[in-house]
Symmetry: C2
Subunit: 374 residues, 2 copies
């Protein structure tokens, strides 16, 4: 069966692993590297689909665990799938639910079959294994779906990580076997292996043998030091097929985008921009700004003087600070819009800098202003 997605490798930046590509999916053509905003519960928090599209995003991530529990995949399927349910005409990627089961649910019991857990919403007992996850994702109908995996905690004993990895590889095969819409949805495999270089290599090789149309690197940014995450990427991506997209799951701080791209990553997703926005924190070229601080009370400048997004063209820090203090939801809507724009625009510039060979210089320039020193 031919994959419903196709990856074009357009250019590689000499001396780095950075790549410029184009991912064709049933609902959108996506320029890579790409940052994917997260719409956990079938909505990118506070934003309309038109706004997410105006920002420039053409693919978003939605969470299988959340949608399975509420409203339930059959209600989404009844609307004609996730795209129509949420009025998003572009591409969607759903995760497998594995990570959320481990991070949100209680009373988890892992067996070879899958994971028994209690819903963090209703408290009731539920079960999710490879077949269940793929069944849910087939019903949701995203362009890209993910194999069911276990994301081991950090730190973890090597023995546990090894056993977990072997199980994740078996679950990946069962995910492939369970997939009933491979003509419409591309199933990506996930490379686990904790913080052990040899296990990461083993996972990359084993997953590649299973021949997925794309590969994710999972289990990173789980509390480990950043240099360790970078090491794991460096041992993993060179072993993945050059002509397939590579997705670093749940990672997306500005520096992570640079460092991931330089290590061969094509796709990123992260709740960071919308999560910090709801606390009133915004990205700016000069680093993060905490808008509730009194210094912004009479500051009529835009959130980021270098940004030309809708928010920065029309609203002042003083106004947005007022909305946040007054607990008006329009305030977190404006900070969310700006933060998602910031990462999408940053990725636009990263793509351009791969094309014209200036990525390393651009990274240095960005870090200098942002106040990031590795």
């Amino acid at each position: 069966m031919e994959s419903p997605t196709r990856f074009e490798l357009l250019a590689e930046l000499q001396g780095t692993l950075a790549r410029r590509g184009r991912l064709h999916t049933p609902h959108a053509v996506i320029e890579t590297p790409v940052f994917m905003p997260v719409g956990t519960q079938a909505t990118v928090k506070t934003l309309s689909p038109e706004e997410v599209s105006t920002i420039g995003a053409r693919i978003i991530l939605s969470n299988t665990y959340h949608l399975h529990l509420r409203p339930g995949e059959e209600i989404v399927a009844g609307a004609g799938g996730l795209h129509r349910f949420m009025n998003w005409p572009h591409a969607v990627l759903t995760d497998s639910g594995g990570f959320q089961v481990f991070s949100l649910a209680s009373m988890r019991k892992i067996t070879e079959a899958g994971v028994e857990f209690r819903s963090h919403i209703s408290g009731e007992k539920r079960f999710l294994g490879p077949e269940e996850s793929i069944h849910v994702q087939n019903a949701l109908g995203a362009d890209i779906i993910m194999a069911f995996d276990e994301c081991p905690p950090y730190p973890a004993e090597r023995d546990y990580v090894l056993q977990s990895l072997q199980r994740t590889l078996r679950w990946a095969r069962r995910s492939q076997a369970a997939h009933e819409r491979s003509d419409e949805q591309a199933l990506f495999g996930i490379v686990q292996g904790g913080m052990a270089a040899d296990l990461r290599r083993e996972a990359a090789v084993a997953m590649t043998e299973m021949d997925f149309p794309g590969y994710a690197v999972g289990g990173l940014s789980v509390g480990e030091p950043k240099p360790l995450m970078h090491d794991m990427l460096e041992v993993t991506t060179p072993l993945l097929p050059r002509d397939k997209p590579r997705y670093l799951m749940g990672v997306g701080a500005p520096d992570d985008l640079f460092e991931g791209v330089l290590r061969g990553i094509d796709m990123f997703d992260c709740v960071l921009p919308t999560r910090i926005a709801r606390n009133g924190t915004v990205f700016t070229a000069n680093g993060k700004a905490v808008l509730r601080n009194a210094q912004y009370a009479r500051d009529y400048l835009p959130l980021d003087e270098d940004c030309d997004c809708y928010v920065c063209r029309h609203y002042s820090r003083a106004y947005i600070r007022h909305l946040l203090k007054a607990e008006e939801t329009f305030g977190i809507r404006l900070t969310s819009y700006h933060n998602v724009s910031f990462l999408v625009n940053l990725m636009d510039k990263i793509r351009l800098s791969i094309e014209n060979g200036s990525l390393l210089a651009f990274r240095q320039h960005f870090y200098d202003r942002y106040g990031y020193n590795g």
Copy 2:
């Protein structure tokens, strides 16, 4: 001094007091009768100014009491006034703060000078009288501002209402004297008088003598039966100048729009559409619908099958119910958008029905479907 607003009386509906007019203000030309959405804290809750404009509104109300306490009028003035602060290019009306002082603040002490109260936000002691209210409203810079008044509670002793009315009339004169931007902002007077027909008449005559560019009817919809509100309107509006706009403050349920228009009202404002939206209740041609009810879980119809607003064109009841249950702010944004659209669209139809003489038949048709029987 000529008023910065001008009211054109375009047509009157024979056999009723209903009028079709056009109010020219510095920032917008407003077709009347008009429903004005409320942006208490310099934002129509959950909506962007572009959305409020797309819905068709050209004038919104903002609350002087709230903006005085937070962020403070000097911060709004520093941005260039309320229009620029909130990115709303059309007309704004600010109330006097009187009503909010009585309904929200604690420890109120009324003297001839004004009202001493404790802020409902900080608890600190504040003072608002006619001069202070007008000073704040001059700084906010709305197109239409209101004289400082007292809105007596319901029920209230006749003696109290009489004394309160006399004080409100004196405050109205002091409001006129304190107004420093009468070339840019039109100051409207407010007719009080509680539920006593003779006091309402006395107030209407006395306010008319003060020659305001527009007149509000205040102190209604404060708990009295609707027929009593209608009686008070019927004794008041005929005594107000025919060539000046008449504004019924804080009133705006669908039936109130019909009944107010039929009694000579040109302007309405109400928090009802956005307030009930935040509880998940929406207006439909067939009456109000409570979206959290289980009956809507698999209902893929639009909120109101007769509505062609953005929300009804793109989203289902099932999706919006999911967002409300999941506590996603996009849910209350969609219900707010629809409810404000519903009242703005209803007023469009009311204006048309005044023009073509069908207002009474339209009211009957609307009430029959909506399930309203007076």
